[in-house]
């Protein structure tokens, strides 16, 4: 017994020290998981305004450095605190995997704050170490990106206030092929309403995948949501984020190399409606149960079993 306890309590040094570039092979993790599972212990703030992003994630964010140079002699604390509360992510990479996109977006969008979300512990640790290594190698760069371990299907509204995000990326999400697992897909009618709540009016939603079925599903759900409008081809061409999304994600590179479902990548970009007030009144007593309306379905009312 005593032997065992000493074994457990000894300090374990991590494989990769902070600042060292991590090696993927030590952070491999099972690709599929059930995000609907209840048995998780995530910590999250009760409300978005109770969370300080500069503590763990962006300690040297460009916005903070501005304030330090122009501080008044008195009340040194208040301007910094005030600026700290300005530091909030406005670009989300949901399911960031090994962090390719998150890190590539950082120099591309220097005025935005980028956050990658990942549910797997090992992979999140990998991305965290990778970001730290990048920050060490290139001082003054990569200070506006970070990663967090959380369940994006459940806890986003605890972290981000209304209309605070400019962009949300869904890159190569888990297809969950079986019909009974469709509720686990990251894009669904239920979640799209939440994403639209988080996006600023005019904000953009990006999705890319190499599975054609999943792409059709994405397009069907997003087209069917009244708050999202497809971006035109020209808009997508002009947007530099689309290019990065196609090339820089780890999954994207794997598709280029191996192409288990083919080498084709399907993507689409949607813009969140600017004036949602226009939609009010669109649903009325006459069309409430009409097929084709958002959320209306004909279902089999037979008792099962």
């Amino acid at each position: 017994m005593p032997k065992q306890s000493t074994k457990r309590t000894r300090e374990v040094e991590p494989i990769t020290a902070d600042g060292e570039m991590p090696q993927k092979r030590f952070y491999r993790s099972r690709a599929h998981c059930n995000p609907l599972s209840f048995n998780e212990n995530f910590e999250y703030p009760a409300r978005p305004d109770l969370f300080d992003w500069t503590e763990d994630h962006y300690p040297n964010h460009p916005l903070l450095l501005q304030s330090k140079s122009s501080t008044n002699d008195q009340s040194d604390v208040i301007p910094t605190f005030h600026n700290a509360s300005r530091v909030k992510p406005n670009v989300l990479d949901v399911g960031c995997g090994f962090g390719g996109l998150t890190i590539s977006l950082s120099p591309l969008l220097p005025n935005h704050t980028i956050l990658g979300l990942e549910i797997r512990t090992k992979v999140t640790e990998y991305v965290r170490l990778r970001i730290l290594a990048h920050r060490k190698e290139h001082p003054d760069q990569y200070q506006n990106c970070s990663v967090m371990r959380t369940n994006a299907m459940k806890y986003l509204v605890h972290y981000f206030p209304k209309n605070s995000l400019d962009k949300i990326f869904f890159c190569f999400p888990d297809p969950h092929f079986k019909k009974k697992n469709h509720p686990r897909r990251i894009i669904s009618e239920r979640l799209l309403s939440e994403y639209c709540y988080l996006l600023k009016p005019g904000g953009k939603l990006y999705c890319i995948t190499d599975v054609k079925d999943l792409h059709d599903w994405h397009v069907e759900k997003c087209d069917g949501h009244p708050l999202l409008v497809r971006c035109s081809e020209e808009e997508m061409e002009e947007d530099p984020c689309v290019e990065v999304m196609r090339k820089e994600t780890e999954e994207g590179k794997k598709v280029e190399r191996e192409g288990r479902f083919g080498h084709e990548k399907y993507y689409m970009v949607y813009r969140r409606l600017e004036e949602e007030e226009r939609l009010l009144g669109g649903v009325s007593a006459d069309n409430f149960f009409e097929i084709g309306q958002f959320g209306v379905e004909v279902f089999d009312n037979q008792k099962k079993g």
Binding site: V12, L279, E297, F299, D300
Partner: protein, 553 residues
């Protein structure tokens, strides 16, 4: 309501779930003394072959003694036999939720059961009919999951027919709207469960459960739908454009166990929530800010009553029937700064052996938003808290979300004793309070006379009628409306499991610095890996080829 077991519409329709049976009690809105009628709402399993019972149970208000044997209460004007064929299968299918409304001149009732059925019943013509006292469902829907919350709603139409619907909030976090057939289209000979039907997915709280739902008005003539879930939040969405989320009411630190919102127009947009963290909070759902709070209350530990009142002790011993102290606050309209500590004033409740939080399992707000009623787990009484009028000078600051001094603490004004722990609470539009309780009373009725509430159970026609019916069928009520696991923890409480999602070795709690015990993050692995690679290379090279030194990439 963790389960919506008691529901009322205005003041003349009451529907109650007594274990696995549902009963509707109708009185006349105009004539309070003309007595009450009881209908039993049959479950769908009871098909046509069971002989429908004709049992009359008309009791004039003010006459019956509810404590005496059942037979004395019922005024028989003919046969009054009980049919055993009423009882459905051996296992009790606990009723999850009930709801009621009046459409035109017809009264509609809905019952959601444990077998995932949603049954709609219609009582036509509120005139007193003497014959059928058991209602077969007029429409049956098979839902994908059990629903714990039900709301009737009608979308008025300027052109065609109004759209009537029943909204069900289920255990997978979804809220579906099912159509309510129009009275003229009811065909009692056809099967109540249509082969296929249409329904509308209004919204979904992913990976959560809906524990409360209500439709409430906005300040510009439109509506919101408020849905509370197990993940400590209440979502406010536009209605019927439910894909537009207005906001979230965030602040609770445990599952939301009960919710009520104001339903009339011209009243402040207030929403009331009770939570597993023990607090009851008042919110302004238009601005999505917290405006008031009742601090948490602990279930009192075994036996000692720190009060003068006479108390009944529950048989079970798990939850003792004792009042929490401090009911001497009679300050009604006082705005005060924040009180965060529990009224029982014990900071080390974690160390107390019986420091269980008295979870508010039912909350109700009066229709004029004047007072709220709270029923708690483990406490055999209900509390009345008046809502103070807002002080306009205080609500201007934009930093009100940061500085909580804007919060109002809702003091208890009166405590109403109940013989056992209340199961659910609802308010009638005439301001009286109905409490669902255990046998032999089954239902209690309190009326506000002057500024205090008084127990009028003995004189209430609703109570006597329902009690007599229930007693005659020997219905035994559950102890509590909340569901518990075998080990005594609440089912709604989230399990804190140390198992990681990707199957890593368990961390064994937050004992030491973050990485201790995590073998995957151990530096030794690099060494092991290098040696293993070296050995593998040697093995492969034995078959020919040069042996190279492994270099870490």
């Amino acid at each position: 309501m963790s389960k919506q077991l008691l529901h009322s519409f205005r003041s003349h329709v009451v529907v109650a779930a007594l274990s696995d049976r549902a009963f509707a009690v109708l009185t006349s809105e105009q004539d309070a003394t003309s007595g009450a009628r009881v209908y039993e709402l049959l479950p769908p399993a009871v098909s046509a072959h069971a002989a429908p019972a004709k049992k009359r149970s008309k009791v004039n208000g003010g006459g019956a003694e509810k404590d005496s044997a059942a037979d004395d209460n019922v005024v028989k004007e003919g046969e009054a036999q009980e049919t055993k064929s009423d009882l459905s299968a051996d296992t009790k299918e606990e009723i999850q939720a009930v709801c009621s409304t009046e459409i035109g001149s017809h009264i509609w009732l809905a019952v959601s059961r444990e077998d995932k059925t949603l049954s709609l019943y219609c009582v036509a013509d509120v005139k007193f009919q003497e014959d059928v006292m058991q209602l077969q469902p007029v429409a049956i829907y098979n839902m994908p999951k059990r629903a714990r919350c039900l709301v009737f709603h009608t979308l008025p139409s300027s052109t065609g027919a109004d759209c009537h619907m029943i909204i069900a909030g289920d255990l997978s976090g979804d809220a579906f709207a099912y159509p309510v057939p129009s009275y003229d289209a009811i065909d009692l000979t056809a099967a109540a469960a249509a082969k296929s039907s249409s329904r509308r997915l209004l919204l979904g709280h992913t990976a959560s459960m809906l524990t409360g739902m209500q439709v409430a008005p906005t300040n510009n003539g439109r509506q919101f739908i408020l849905t509370a879930d197990r993940d400590e939040k209440v979502r406010v969405s536009c209605f019927p454009e439910t894909h537009i989320v207005h906001g979230y009411l965030l602040g609770h630190t445990a599952f939301v166990s009960a919710m009520d919102a104001v339903s009339g127009d011209g009243v402040r947009p207030l929403c009331l929530t009770g939570s597993g963290d023990g607090t009851v909070r008042l919110w302004d759902y238009q601005t999505c800010k917290e405006v008031g709070m009742v601090p948490l209350v602990l279930q009192p530990p075994g036996g000692d009553s720190s009060n003068n009142d006479d108390l009944n002790v529950n048989d079970e011993g798990l939850r003792e029937a004792a009042l929490c102290k401090d009911d001497n606050n009679f300050d009604e309209n006082e705005d005060e700064s924040v009180e965060f500590d529990g009224d029982c004033g014990d900071d080390d409740f974690d160390e107390k052996c019986d420091g269980l939080i008295a979870v508010p399992l039912a909350v109700a707000m009066s229709s004029d938003a004047e007072y709220v009623v709270v029923a708690r787990e483990g406490i055999s009484s209900i509390d009345i808290h008046p809502i103070p009028d807002p002080d306009p000078a205080k609500n201007t600051s934009g930093l009100s979300s940061m500085f909580l001094s804007q919060l109002v603490s809702l003091h208890k004004k009166q405590t109403l004793q109940c013989p056992s722990q209340p199961l659910d609470v609802c308010l009638l539009s005439d301001g009286s309070v109905l409490v669902l309780a255990r046998e032999p009373e089954y239902i209690l009725h309190f009326r506000c006379i002057g500024s205090e509430f008084e127990d009028m159970t003995s004189t209430s026609p609703i109570c006597s009628v329902l009690a007599s019916v229930a007693t005659s069928r020997s219905i035994s009520m559950p102890i509590t409306a909340l569901e518990y696991n075998e080990d005594g923890t609440l089912k709604l409480q989230k399990k804190v499991d140390n198992k990681e999602l990707d199957g890593d070795e368990a961390e064994g709690g937050e004992s030491n610095a973050g990485n201790s015990g995590l073998h995957w993050n151990d530096k030794e692995r690099k060494n092991t890996h290098r040696l293993a690679n070296g050995r593998r290379r040697k093995r492969n090279c034995k078959g020919g080829g040069t042996g190279e030194e492994e270099v870490d990439p």
